[in-house]
Amino acid sequence: MTTNQERLTLQQGAPPDAEALLASMLRIRLFEDEIMGLFTKQLVRGSTHLCQGQEAVTVGVASSLRDGDTVVCTYRGHGAVLAMGAELDASFGEIMGRSGGLCKGRGGSMHLTDVARGVLGSNAIVGAHLPIAVGAALSAQHLGTGAVSVAFFGDGATNIGAFHESLNMAGIWKLPVLFVIENNQYGEYSPIASTTPIARLADRAASYGMPGVQVDGNDVVAVREAAREAVDRATGGEGPTLLEALTYRHGGHSRADPGAYRPPGELDSWLERDPITALERAMRAGGGAAETRIEQVREAVRTDVAQALERALSWPEPDAEERFEDVYA
């Protein structure tokens, strides 16, 4: 099975496009921070699932994709959707149920969709989007588009039936799929070890005749490198890859979950490995007025996020009658 020993990582220094990667990760981080605030202000309905701490996974993978490639993700999908380039204001708007939202307010926090950017949908049923990713890959293979299909999902999702059926089908048909496990160590509140009898989830790839690769999910360069290899395999007709990115969600599972079930010190040790700090550290190590460049990026993203939120807040709720639209084509 492939391992990530020889693969390029942040240890070898920040990549040329470090600023772009930093901006993309910061964009997600600040976006999610704002959503938390909006939720407590009751501007977000139902529930919301944030991904602070996991930004390097979605940004790393997204940065390995080309136009035409597609992504499906979960209810914890704000990061994936933004990493694919979705507008901040339309994303804020959707989560607040405003007319200008990505889905005109009809989908909400768990269903962000931006087909123009390759995001086919965010799914609120654990594992249910994996078969959909297989289907997108089937189209790519059948139509010869050369596109790759990516599915982001959690560690807990590897225990549901749809995971098994999807990897098996993609394996037997050698479909161009990247199955990306965002292993943040927990389901909702259960540590993965309490629900899964093996430690290395990537090993499940062996059941489907595909490589299983484990990578530091807080190292955006390592993630991108692993994703690129998988994209090359996929486009080369060698089939799917199961990519396990080890990461951590800084917050709770959803809403106001304080994450009390986490052993003391665990969060701190992961905060020290914060993917954004890690990239900035590498940039600084590279010198070249890194400090100013980092501050410029931070400032720019802060402004973008603030202005986008302002715009979204100014949008009206959708017309109630619009609820009858799009049930059928």
Binding site: V134, D326, A329
Partner: protein, 327 residues
């Protein structure tokens, strides 16, 4: 093509014609390819269109339906076969939470031109887990269309319309009608619009609404009744979602008596839903209580006498009709 063809064979013909017409049409399901289908309903397609357009799948209904959905969202027009309709149970989430809702949740960003074929119905001795009228499982789930063809012509015509439709369409092929014969018209005349009922027989005394196997028993009953001077209209809705209420109402305005016959238990059924719509919206037309003749409220039993008794018969339909007319 004016020679006779049966309900089983016409499926392969309809699919072949659809595949000839549109290169993005692709079939997937367990043994739909090399073996020609568990019911031989796709015989010859694998040889003709090859393994990439006629795909044998693993035994993975969630992946079959979900992959068909993902493919439909990205440029193909897949036709997924889940064999016995009862297997909709193992991929129910994909059908009701995914296929039915992707377009709505995305506010129209995605389109789902998808057909899901399944062999429904009782009467052939397949017992409790292989005989259900699963068309009733989808009635409460907006976003799907459901067709239940009862003749060779309707099966061909509705299957062709389903493949051309830009929405998910569930096509229920009744496994006890495979031997039924018919003749398919040529050209566009062969297309049967989704959502349009057919008036099988016209009579002034009562309106009988039934689908598939029950439609044929209803016609049988109507013929018995005719000999007694009772003239029944028999309507086959052919589509359950969207349902052609207008045709039923038009008939009721003449007969003012309604008898719905179905081969499933009454709870949550299309028949109960129809009766409810008719009385809540057209109460005045009724001169007698509407009647709903259903199968028993039990799983489908295996023993021949028990399964036969479980299903409404032509005799029982006629009896119910007599009581209604005598009311």
């Amino acid at each position: 093509m004016s020679e006779k063809i049966n309900y089983r064979q016409v499926i392969a013909r309809a699919l072949a014609d659809a595949m000839d017409e549109d290169p993005t049409v692709l079939l997937l399901g367990e043994d739909v390819g090399a073996a020609g289908g568990a019911f031989k309903t796709t015989a010859g397609l694998f040889e003709r269109f090859g393994p990439t357009r006629v795909r044998d799948t693993p035994i993975s209904e969630q992946a079959i339906v979900g992959a068909a959905l993902g493919a439909a969202m990205t440029g193909l027009r897949p036709v997924a076969d889940i064999m016995f309709a009862d297997f909709a149970g193992v991929c129910f989430d994909q059908i009701v939470n995914q296929v039915a809702k992707q377009r709505y949740m995305s506010a129209g960003q995605v389109t789902v031109p998808l057909v899901i074929r399944m062999a429904n119905g009782a009467g052939a001795g397949f017992a409790a887990q292989h005989s259900q009228a699963t068309e009733n499982w989808f009635l409460n789930v907006p976003g799907l269309k459901v067709v239940v063809p009862g003749t060779v012509e309707d099966l061909y015509g509705l299957l062709r319309s389903a493949v051309r439709d830009d929405n998910p369409v569930i096509v229920c092929e009744h496994k006890n009608l495979f031997a039924l014969k018919g003749v398919v018209p040529t050209g566009d005349a062969a297309f049967v619009p989704i959502g349009k009922a057919s008036v099988v027989r016209r009579g002034k005394d009562l309106t009988i609404v039934a689908t598939q196997q029950m439609r044929h028993r209803a016609v049988e009953a109507a013929e018995m009744l005719a000999e007694e001077g009772i003239e029944a209209t028999v309507i086959d809705p052919r589509t359950l979602i969207p349902f052609d209420d207008a045709t039923v109402v038009a008939s009721l305005s003449e007969t003012s008596r309604l008898l719905v016959v179905q081969e499933s238990p009454p709870g949550g059924s299309w028949g109960a839903s129809l009766v409810s719509r008719m009385v809540t919206e057209h109460f005045e037309v009724f001169d007698a209580p509407p009647a709903l003749l259903s199968a028993d409220e039990t799983p489908v039993p295996y023993a021949a006498v028990q399964e036969a008794a479980w299903l409404p018969t032509a005799e029982r339909i006629a009896d119910q009709a007599r009581r209604l007319v005598a009311y």
